[in-house]
Symmetry: none
Subunit: 239 residues, 2 copies
Amino acid sequence: MLARGRGVTVWRQIAEVIEAEIAGGGLVPGTRLPTEAALTERFGVNRHTVRQAVKSLVDKGLVRVTQGSGTYVEAKPLTYPISTRTRFSEIVVGQARDPAGRLLGHSEAGASLEIAEALDLSPEDPVVMVESAHFADGVPISWAVTAFPLPRFAEVPAVYAATGSITAALAACGVSDYRRASTKVGAAIADATDSARLEIAEGRPVLVIDSINVDPDGVPIQWARSHFCADRVRLTVGG
Amino acid sequence: MLARGRGVTVWRQIAEVIEAEIAGGGLVPGTRLPTEAALTERFGVNRHTVRQAVKSLVDKGLVRVTQGSGTYVEAKPLTYPISTRTRFSEIVVGQARDPAGRLLGHSEAGASLEIAEALDLSPEDPVVMVESAHFADGVPISWAVTAFPLPRFAEVPAVYAATGSITAALAACGVSDYRRASTKVGAAIADATDSARLEIAEGRPVLVIDSINVDPDGVPIQWARSHFCADRVRLTVGG
DNA sequence: ATGATTTGTATATTGATCTAGACCATTATG
DNA sequence: CATAATGGTCTAGATCAATATACAAATCAT
């Protein structure tokens, strides 16, 4: 099975075999890979060689390793369409996965220049800042820091904490519908905060999305800067 | 262009680039590859690394190296259909290449057991043995030792030497048509003789074909053991 | 013939890959 | 809590890959 001296390293050949088994459906997302010992046995190589193969799969975002537990096949990337009507929970449910949102913290503050401009406020106008994390099937997909104008949306943190849903939080403040008015997409390298909140290694790619939501009257109600784990999400724009 | 530390050796990547250029038509058969020095420059690697890449292409039969001269793209393998009516020159001409045959030597002898059986003779019946080499565009394709019954085909060596054509030599002996009655295909590793006559390295693969031709009346007229350079020929049987 | 060009060979050095073995840290399980 | 299972880290040595030089041998052009 393994060809030595043909210009392809052993660890890469092993990685390609496992990758093919994932792509071919032999290894379903969420299932545990054979243990390092088992792979060592199967391929007839040293454990370190298997580990290097697994490391390359981790770097590609195909598997996730947990010390003491095992190596698991990552879920297929979530397809995240960005349109004027984007609802995280609907997107996740639409792909047969279980959405969840969690409030990380909140505070009241004066709007920064950037936020004031986005929400059509004056600098230092009061806003409530909300930090939240979002999950699909318990796996972190994104985290965000968002700003809502005060006093109109004073209730948002409490309702969001209780429901995990921005849509519900806005509804509690009398906004029954909203749409996305602006989206900017960038990319960055995960820092310590991204690493902790998305449960990824520092250095992995992150999609950074600045968005502005407006109510049916076109009044800005929410500015958000979201950090998506790029290994777990594929944005679709238009199409 | 070259990715180091990704599990694929540098020499293999270089070989794949050159192979793609050959397959893509950028390097026509017969043309000379850039010199080792030029390739060293182009890929930014050591000369030995280029040499290993070239060696892998030689091993695949894609190029041929001549010390002091250069490295040349091999011709595409000649497709050699084996049927009841097989004529070397017609096959070669049919592929827009220039056929040639050369007499290497001849002698009269008594038929060996194998030849006697093939030609329907008794052992030690007189035959003329002919050794010949066959070329397409000047490149050696095969060499063969053949046996013809005597006295019927005494003229064969002289005519073959003059024309380079077995068909013409047989015609001179009154055989206007012939067909292949038996073919056995085997493979071997080139020995010193193969190496010299086919201009290939010892150890390269060789197709060994034993065939018997018969005249229109079904009388055996020629036994042949041909050695084909496997890198330059693809046999097609049936189809 | 002569010299320049081009491939062939040899040796040595450095770094990457693979193997081997030992021990630690985390997780799962009874 | 104790134990086993599993991945994480470290050291050391063997082999392979790539570099760096030097020189030999064959070919080609003049």
